[in-house]
Amino acid sequence: MTDILKASNLHKLYKMGQARLTVLKGLDLTVARGEFIAVVGASGSGKSTLLHILGGLDKPDAGYVEFDGERIDRFGAGRLNRFRNKKVGFVFQFYHLLDELNVLDNVMLPAMAGTGSLGWLAKRRSARRRAANLLEQVGLAERTRHKPYQLSGGERQRVAIARALMNDPELLLADEPTGNLDSKTGNGILEVLETLNRGGQTLVMVTHDERMGARTNRLIRLVDGRIV
């Protein structure tokens, strides 16, 4: 399997008033295409920070990330936006759906954001079909017109997964996707992720639940800013 992602010697420091908190201390990580990796660690161990840096949402103080052999810290603002739009999909613990949009529009949002007005007019029907297919895959075919507040936590997370997959990203980054759900619902979400991985989707999941992590291809423990 070829490597899709490579993090080298990542350092990240947070300033909190006078105090300085180093969360990543020279972290190295390689993710192969089609792999499903879980990063586990205690709260505050830097799991989410690592995920954000891998997805280009945050920048390391030192070190770099390569995606398909290219360093993303060398991307300009426009290319970084396109990278987040096309190459990566994020799933957050608190779902982060837009309250004003219905389920279908939430899922279509990355496609809309990545297309100009004229392009969208041409692409709208196919985007709508893809969004509907994704919602069907995650078991929400009947909920397309619902608003997020009309859904349960598990359903919202399924919508968030469908949204993350809308632009068919090469890498899916999930930040505690089951952290806000009960164990039965969390299992359901994990099953969705496992199914995606079986279909070839590369996944990096951050979790504090080792049992969840154990169900992935590879479990990585993050302790004191380094992988152990």
């Binding site: 989410s48 954000h52 997805g55 949402l57 945050d58 603002a77 426009g78 936006n81 396109r82 990278f83 987040r84 739009n85 096309k86 994020f90 957050f92 613990q93 608190f94 982060h96 759906l97 837009l98 309250d99 004003e100 949009l101 529009d105 949002l109 990355p110 809309m112 954001a113 990545g114 297309t115 007005s117 969208w120 007019l121 949204r163």
Partner: protein, 450 residues
Amino acid sequence: MYKLNLAIRYLLGRRISILAVTAVALCVFIVLVVMTIMNGLVREFRNKNHAFVGDCVVSTDSLVGFPYYEEFAAELRAQENVEAVSTVIHSYGLLTQRGADWNMGIEVMGIDPADHIRATGFGQTLHYHRDTPETAFKPAYNPDAPGCVVGIDMMPRSRSQSGGYYHSPRPQEIELVISCFPLTAKGAMERADMGMVNTLSFFYSDDSHSGLVKVDGNMVYIPFETAQQMCGMNGSPSRASAMYVRFKNANALQQNTGKVRSLWDRFAEQKKDAPYANLLDGVRVESWIVNRRSHIAPMEKEQTMLILLFLMLGLITVFVIFVVFYMVISHKSKDIGILRSIGVSRWGVVQVFVYFSGLVGVIGAATGGTAAWALLLKINAIEDWLFVKYGYQVWDRSVYAIGDIPSRIEPRVVTIIILSAIAASIVGALLPSVQAARKRPVEILQVNQL
């Protein structure tokens, strides 16, 4: 596309948007109504002043007047750009009624009606002689008697609620006695033993409603020759106070006035050695705008102050919108983090809120503009109803020389106000949008997670 889509959803989904729309609508409504009325009043006032003196005025402030006016009037009439010239006597006097024990100070204007109606809007100010203004000094009840036209507010009569005046079908037979102060060419009072005539009787022939308070309340028009005689200006050389000129093309006002000024300078130069040529030195040639500046300027100043006040109102609206958007965007920081995480640029985030504020501006301006239009359409009917029902009148017509409340909406004013309102909305939203867009998505999403 998502930007407009989101902007519409934000607008429909948040009650606070209604507050912003209302603020814009109220501002547009108030500004449009007040500006329309104020502009209308100023426009009307300017038109009345224009009608009173024609396009150009050749005049002197001296009550003595200036000589050789006939020659200059003839030269003016020969000019291609001149439509008409009216030579006038302007002085002061006393008015009383035969057998009455009262008198009042008045302004006397001596005119030749046939010339004056061509050079000015005098004919349109008459009531009984509107169709035959050249016979303005012939009283209908006795055409052979010496007639006079008086300012409409000098006649005791009641007015309608909309400012109109009641007239009897025929003018009343009233004998008025006018006394003037005849002056020699040197500015001294004429001696009584020089055969002067300074007091004459006139019969009320008509009234003049110019819409100018001072004119309608003080001015009495009498025939030119009679006024000249009563003011001692019929000597040799005879004198006049002013010439009112109407141009064929009123649009080229400055250019035409400049031509008249050059003509006058040449004329005065030719006459520099003639008797009493010193009286020509004080003669000015002015466009009607300059001549009536002292009358129009206070109103225009009021209009300017009003515009400044409403600019402040506009600033307050910007501030209200700024506060509203600050609140909206503060509540939307999570959305900004989400949008950034799916690849939306900072400018894209700003655009979402610019579209949102633009929609607020457009809807607010449209609502306020429509409400203002509806009010202005019916403002006079509403005022009449208020007067009939409660005796309330916005402008007391016995004080203000206006008829209807001006309500003609000017497309230029509407366009400026609406575009300003939309611009104000966008400006009000720009700062909080830019601030929000500059935040790092990780900060927003992490804070939300906490």
